[in-house]
Symmetry: C2
Subunit: 217 residues, 2 copies
DNA sequence: CATTTACATACCGACGTTTGGTATTTATAT
DNA sequence: ATATAAATACCAAACGTCGGTATGTAAATG
């Protein structure tokens, strides 16, 4: 392939192909050669010019995946008219209802078969999204009295892990019914900690996503 | 190496070496050759006679790791003098206080750097330990009135995931302080769901294990 | 025009796995 | 009790693929 005047286009091509393959086959079962074969004529040298390792590609893919989500979290975090509790509710709801979720659940990735990718996302969530976006919201909630806890950081972790990992139908291959049940238990847990912020709309959206996922696999 | 009259001895040698290496270096960074080198003179062919793939060894190692734990769970499940709630408490306490835990935390595996091993353990826990041991306990608790939930299976999953994964200092590299905080939040969550079954002894033991882990890494 | 950048090509060592064979044990038949 | 057949345990070597690198080349830049 001829040299590209705008190398970022090439980078994006690589990332798109890698993303697609990581989703379809899982990270560990996707070879560099697979990525090359999905790229109209681009060579291995090109890939290693833009990325220093296969794991480097994985990291970039994960960042690309979480970037948009983090932007939403940042936006909610910086709103002025909500208290902490309401912001917590907002990030759940708006994350669930992002239109891209339909696309993601449509490719039906078997995340449960891609431990490196999955764990990368989890770490990214825990060490990026939680401290930078969720924790400030919890802290605000403590300050304004809408959230009560002595351990904001760990509370944020547990909630986000339960919501984003355990309740993600793609990770544990949950049916809509299982998603329903998990949501109910999650709601019970949140309620128990004084955070009654879930509603029927969110439940229905989760079931809907689980359905989309199951129809496409 | 001469042919062994009792091939199970050879299998165990392989498993022991693999376990040690998986713990020290992580699954993905342990090669078959590494295992051979830790086995006085055994050949690669021998390994592939007893195991059909590297992943097959991983699965066997995981089964070996969880077998002992599951035995404890089965024992508690089948006790006659406790209600469901008390049994739930018992499996937490007795799992924490198993003496082997000291050994496991001493080798200080960087589980967080071994996603395949870690996810294997999680799946094993979720799809073996939960349905066979924890779920019956929850069901008994519902029957005898000591536990209240409409979704026993999902409740069991969430509790076990939080306790065994999120609160495991080896997985997220937690300091004793972080372990302390996680335990407090976990306790708050359990209390919120009507399961006030944690005590100071358990907290101290968890901190102790986190300390052992940190001293050995 | 000189230098940097974006790629292509050829290659490397290490890896997981397969194969073909040998020695030892176990089961069967005499 | 012994001979023989079959199954098992193991070895040594080689295969194909992998992630990664060294080197070459042509396009873009300034």
């Amino acid at each position: 392939m001829a040299r590209n005047k705008y190398p970022e286009k090439t980078v994006n091509m690589i990332l798109d192909a890698a993303f697609k393959l990581f989703m379809e086959k899982g990270y560990e079962r996707t070879s560099i050669q697979d990525i090359i074969d999905n790229l109209g004529g681009l060579s291995k040298g090109a890939i290693y010019h833009h990325f220093k390792s296969k794991e480097d590609i994985l990291i970039a893919v994960i960042n690309q995946m979480t970037a948009e989500s983090n932007q939403l979290l940042a936006e909610v975090r910086d709103r002025q008219n909500l208290n902490g509790r309401e912001k917590l509710r907002a990030i759940f709801k708006e994350s669930l209802f992002r239109p891209v979720q339909d696309d993601i659940f449509s490719v039906a990735p078997n995340l449960g078969d891609s431990p490196q990718l999955l764990f990368g996302i989890i770490k990214d969530t825990l060490y990026e999204a939680v401290p930078h976006y969720v924790l400030p919201i919890i802290r605000q909630g403590i300050a304004d009295g809408s959230i009560v806890t002595d351990y904001p950081s760990e509370l944020a972790q547990l909630i986000i892990l339960a919501a984003n990992v355990w309740m993600n139908p793609m990770i544990f291959d949950d049916s809509p019914e299982e998603s329903h049940n998990k949501f109910m238990v999650f709601g019970q847990m949140m309620k128990g900690m004084g955070l009654d912020i879930l509603d029927k709309e969110m439940l229905e959206r989760l079931e809907n996503l689980a359905q989309i996922y199951h129809d496409n696999k």
